[in-house]
C-alpha cells in the first residue's frame, strides 16, 4: 500500500517543515481536533519539526477520553450481568470506571469481547439467540455510520437480543464550545479528516466566519498533518479565515451522503456530557424514537451507580488545551498508563498517554539530542 510510504517521506516532510519555518513570523496556537491526529503528531515527532512559536494544542477528539465516566460505569454494570455478551472496540477495555475496568469484569466471568465492527456484534446476536448482545458504541461522526447500520440491520431483521450502549459526540459543537470558552487560546483548527470523510465540511464555513479562524480539513499521515499545519499558518499569517481541504484524496465538501441519510434516520441530536468538559448543548447523537428499543440504557435500566472522578486528574484542562499533560501534577506520578486516573491517560489516542508513551516526560532537548549518531551508522 503506497500510503504507508508516500505520506511518510522524510525528505518531503522536512521540505514542508522548512516552508512553515519560512512562513511563520509570529507565534500561533493551532488545535488538532482528533485524537488520531494527536497520536500521529506525537508518534512521528511532528511537533519537534515546527518553529518554536507554533504550538499544537491537543483537542478533545479522542472518543475514549470524552466518554463520561458514568457511561463507562453503566457499561461495566451491563457487562457484568449474566447472559450478556458485551462487545467493544479494544481500547475501551482498559478504561477504568469508578471501581474497575472491562478486563476485570471479564476476569470475574463477564463475557466481554473485542470486535472490529458493530456488525460483528449483530452476527453474535444472531448466533446466540438466548443471550443479550450489547455493543458499546462510542465515538465521533466517524464511527457513527457503522453503529447506525448495526441497529438498522437489527431492526430490519427483527433481532431482538441486540442493543447499543451509545454515546456519540459531534465535532462542530465542540469547536464552538472551545471558541466560546473564556480564556480560549486556539487560533486555528485542523479538522478531523475521518469525521469529514463522513460528514463533509459543509458545517464549518459559518464557524470560520463567526470566529474568524482558519479551519483545515487534515489527514493523519505525517505529510497530511504537516500540510494541514502549513495551510493553517499561511492563512493565519495572511489574516484569512477559510475552510480549506488538505485531505482531498478522502474528503469532499458534501461527504458521504448515504451515511448522512442513515445517521439522520437512526440518530437524533441531543445534549451530551463530555468528560472533563461538561455538557455541551446539541453536541451528540442518541438513538431516535424509531430505534429507541435498541438502546441498551433503556433495556437494562442500570441504577445505583456512584460515579466518582479522581480529584487529582486535570484531563478536562488537557482536553480544553489550557495545560499540556506534563503540567498536571499527577502526570507520570500518580497517573500513568498502568494506573490511569483519567481517560486521557488510558486511550493511546489520549493526549496524556501519547505524551507518556512517546517519552514527553523527558525534555525536548534531551529527546532531540538522543540518537544523534544514529543515521550514519544504520543501514537497511
Amino acid at each position: 500500500m503506497k500510503y504507508l510510504t508516500e505520506f511518510r517521506n522524510g525528505e518531503i516532510a522536512q521540505r514542508i517543515a522548512r516552508e512553515i519555518h519560512q512562513v511563520a513570523t509570529r507565534p500561533w496556537k493551532i488545535m488538532e481536533v482528533c485524537g488520531g491526529q494527536t497520536h500521529s503528531i506525537i508518534k512521528n515527532g511532528i511537533d519537534q519539526m515546527l518553529p518554536a512559536g507554533i504550538e499544537m494544542i491537543h483537542g478533545p477528539g479522542c472518543p475514549v477520553c470524552v466518554t463520561p465516566l458514568e457511561l463507562i460505569d453503566k457499561a461495566l454494570a451491563i457487562a457484568a450481568q449474566p447472559g450478556v455478551i458485551f462487545c467493544s472496540f479494544g481500547d475501551m477495555l482498559r478504561v477504568p470506571g469508578t471501581e474497575c475496568d472491562l478486563f476485570q469484569v471479564k476476569s470475574a466471568g463477564g463475557d466481554v469481547r473485542v470486535v472490529y465492527s458493530p456488525l460483528d456484534a449483530v452476527e453474535l446476536a444472531v448466533k446466540n439467540p438466548d443471550r443479550q448482545v450489547v455493543f458499546f458504541g462510542v465515538g465521533f461522526e466517524t464511527t457513527a455510520p457503522a453503529n447506525a447500520m448495526s441497529v438498522h440491520i437489527a431492526k430490519r431483521r427483527g433481532i431482538k437480543n441486540f442493543s447499543l450502549l451509545v454515546s456519540h459526540v459531534l465535532v462542530p459543537p465542540a469547536i464552538v464550545a472551545i471558541m466560546g470558552s473564556p480564556g480560549n487560546l486556539v487560533q486555528g483548527f485542523l479538522l478531523a479528516g475521518h469525521v469529514c470523510s463522513v460528514m463533509g465540511y459543509w458545517e464549518y464555513p459559518p464557524i470560520a466566519e463567526k470566529y474568524k479562524i482558519p479551519l483545515v480539513v487534515t489527514g493523519f499521515e505525517p505529510l497530511d498533518l504537516l500540510d494541514g499545519i502549513r495551510r493553517a499558518v499561511i492563512q493565519l499569517e495572511a489574516g484569512k479565515y477559510e475552510v480549506e481541504n488538505a485531505y482531498e484524496r478522502i474528503v469532499t465538501f458534501d461527504g458521504n451522503q448515504g451515511a448522512q441519510k442513515l445517521l439522520a434516520e437512526v440518530f437524533e441530536v441531543t445534549d451530551r456530557a463530555w468528560r472533563g468538559i461538561g455538557v455541551i448543548p446539541k453536541s451528540g447523537w442518541r438513538l431516535s424514537a424509531d430505534y429507541r428499543e435498541f438502546d441498551a440504557e433503556e433495556r437494562f435500566h442500570i441504577t445505583g451507580i456512584h460515579t466518582q472522578e479522581s480529584p487529582l486528574c486535570r484531563s478536562g484542562d488537557v482536553l480544553r488545551g489550557t495545560i499540556k499533560p506534563a503540567h498536571c501534577s499527577a502526570f507520570g506520578e500518580e497517573c500513568t498508563p498502568r494506573h490511569p486516573l483519567g481517560a486521557t491517560m488510558v486511550s493511546s489516542e489520549g493526549a496524556c498517554a501519547a505524551y507518556y508513551n512517546y517519552g514527553r516526560f523527558i525534555s525536548a532537548e534531551e529527546l532531540a539530542g538522543a540518537g544523534a549518531g544514529l543515521s550514519a551508522a544504520v543501514k537497511g
Partner: protein, 357 residues
C-alpha cells in the same frame, strides 16, 4: 472404525486389542495413567519422537551431556488458535524452548514435552501437533526425551496446552547475556518483525482478515551457531523477541545493561502486509510477537561480518542493522522516526489494544 479415527494418521499400525477406535477424541482416561494413557505413548508419542533416551520409558530420561556448563529453560504454550498460517502449537512448543536455549549461547540438546489436553480434544489434531513437534525437533537437531500427559475436564482448557523444558550445552568461551550490551554495540535483527503475531491475529476468532501473512516460527539454533562460530567473542547479547515484540526485548536489554538504545524506524524490516495489517488494526509492529527472529548486540567492528553471516543463512536473508547502543539516555529505547524526529518506545503495559478509529 469410525470415520474420525480413520483420519488419524499415526494409528495405521495400531495393534492393541482394545484400541482407541471408540475414542476419536481425548477422554479422561487418557490422562489416568492406565491403558488408554499408555496407548497414547506407545502409538503416538513414541513413534513420533523415537530416540534411545525416550524408549526406556523410565520415570526419568538418562542423558549424555558434554562436560561443562548446562543451560536450562522452560516455556508453556497456550496459543489460540492451535493451528495458524505457518505453523501450530507443536512447532512453537519445540522452537520456543530451543530458541531460548540458543540465545543464551547454548547448543540445545534435549527437550521434555508435557501435554495438558481437554476432554473431547480430537485425536487427529493431537496427532497433527505431535507430528509437527517431531518434525520441528528433527529440524532443530534435538531430541524429545521425556514427557507427560494430563487430561482436564471439558471446559477447563483450550484443547491443548503444551509445556516444554530444554537442556543445552553452553559453548565454552561464549559470554552473552542481556546485561552485557555496551555503548557502541551495533544492533542487528535477523529478519522481518511482527510476522507471527499478525499471522495469529489474522485467524483469531472475531478478527479474521484475509492475508498471506505466515508465522515466522523457526528454530534459531542453526543461524545462531553460524554467528557464534564466526564472531562469538563479538556478540554481547542475543534475544528472540517473542511476546511484546522487538520493543520489549530492546527495553529489557536497555534496563539490564543500563544503557540507552537508539533504533532507526526506517531501517526496521517489516513486511508490507504486516505493516498494512498493523495500520488497519491500530497496532505497532515493534510490539508484535515474533517466533523465529533474533536480535544481536554486536561489537561495532564485527557488525558487518555478522550481518553477512546472517544474510547467508536461509532464516536471515532479510537481516538488518537497525540501531546502536549509546551511553546517553540510559535504560531508554529511542527511535528515530522517518520524519527525522525522535520518540521514546516504552515498555508496553499489557496487550496492545486495537484503537477505535
Amino acid at each position: 472404525m469410525t470415520e474420525a479415527s480413520r483420519a488419524v494418521p499415526d494409528f495405521s499400525n495400531w495393534s492393541c486389542p482394545l484400541p482407541l477406535v471408540g475414542y476419536p477424541s481425548i477422554v479422561m482416561g487418557h490422562g489416568g495413567g492406565g491403558k488408554l494413557g499408555n496407548e497414547l505413548v506407545e502409538h503416538l508419542f513414541l513413534p513420533a519422537f523415537r530416540n534411545p533416551a525416550l524408549e526406556n520409558l523410565g520415570d526419568a530420561a538418562v542423558l549424555d551431556l558434554p562436560a561443562g556448563k548446562l543451560a536450562m529453560s522452560t516455556d508453556s504454550f497456550v496459543v489460540r488458535p492451535l493451528f495458524f498460517p505457518g505453523g501450530s502449537i507443536g512447532e512453537l512448543a519445540v522452537n520456543g524452548t530451543v530458541n531460548d536455549l540458543a540465545v543464551s549461547g547454548a547448543e540445545p540438546k534435549y527437550l521434555s514435552a508435557s501435554f495438558i489436553l481437554e476432554e473431547g480434544f480430537p485425536l487427529a489434531q493431537l496427532a497433527a501437533i505431535v507430528e509437527a513437534m517431531a518434525a520441528a525437533a528433527k529440524t532443530a537437531g534435538i531430541q524429545i526425551v521425556t514427557g507427560d500427559t494430563k487430561v482436564v475436564e471439558r471446559g477447563h482448557g483450550d484443547g491443548c496446552y503444551i509445556n516444554t523444558a530444554g537442556i543445552g550445552a553452553l559453548r565454552p568461551g561464549i559470554q552473552v547475556g542481556p546485561h552485557r550490551a555496551q555503548a557502541g554495540d551495533a544492533i542487528l535483527v535477523s529478519g522481518t518483525i511482527g510476522d507471527h503475531g499478525m499471522a495469529i491475529m489474522s485467524v483469531r476468532e472475531g478478527l479474521e482478515f484475509e492475508s498471506q501473512i505466515t508465522s515466522d516460527c523457526a528454530a534459531l539454533n542453526g543461524i545462531i551457531a553460524d554467528v557464534l562460530a564466526a564472531a562469538g567473542n563479538s556478540i554481547h547479547a542475543m534475544r528472540d523477541p517473542t511476546r511484546g515484540g522487538l520493543a520489549s526485548t530492546l527495553n529489557e536489554i536497555a534496563l539490564a545493561s543500563s544503557v540507552g538504545i537508539e533504533i532507526d524506524e526506517a531501517s526496521m524490516p517489516v513486511r508490507t502486509q504486516v505493516q498494512s495489517a498493523c495500520e488497519l488494526l491500530g497496532l505497532d509492529p515493534v510490539y508484535v510477537a515474533n517466533e523465529g527472529k533474533a536480535v544481536f548486540f554486536v561489537a561495532p567492528e564485527a557488525a558487518e561480518q555478522v550481518l553477512a553471516v546472517l544474510r547467508a543463512h536461509p532464516l536471515g536473508r532479510e537481516a538488518a542493522r537497525i540501531g546502536q547502543v549509546t551511553a546517553q539516555h540510559p535504560r531508554m529505547l529511542v527511535a528515530r522516526t522517518a520524519m527525522g524526529a525522535n520518540r521514546v518506545i516504552p515498555i508496553q503495559i499489557g496487550e496492545q489494544l486495537p484503537r477505535i478509529c
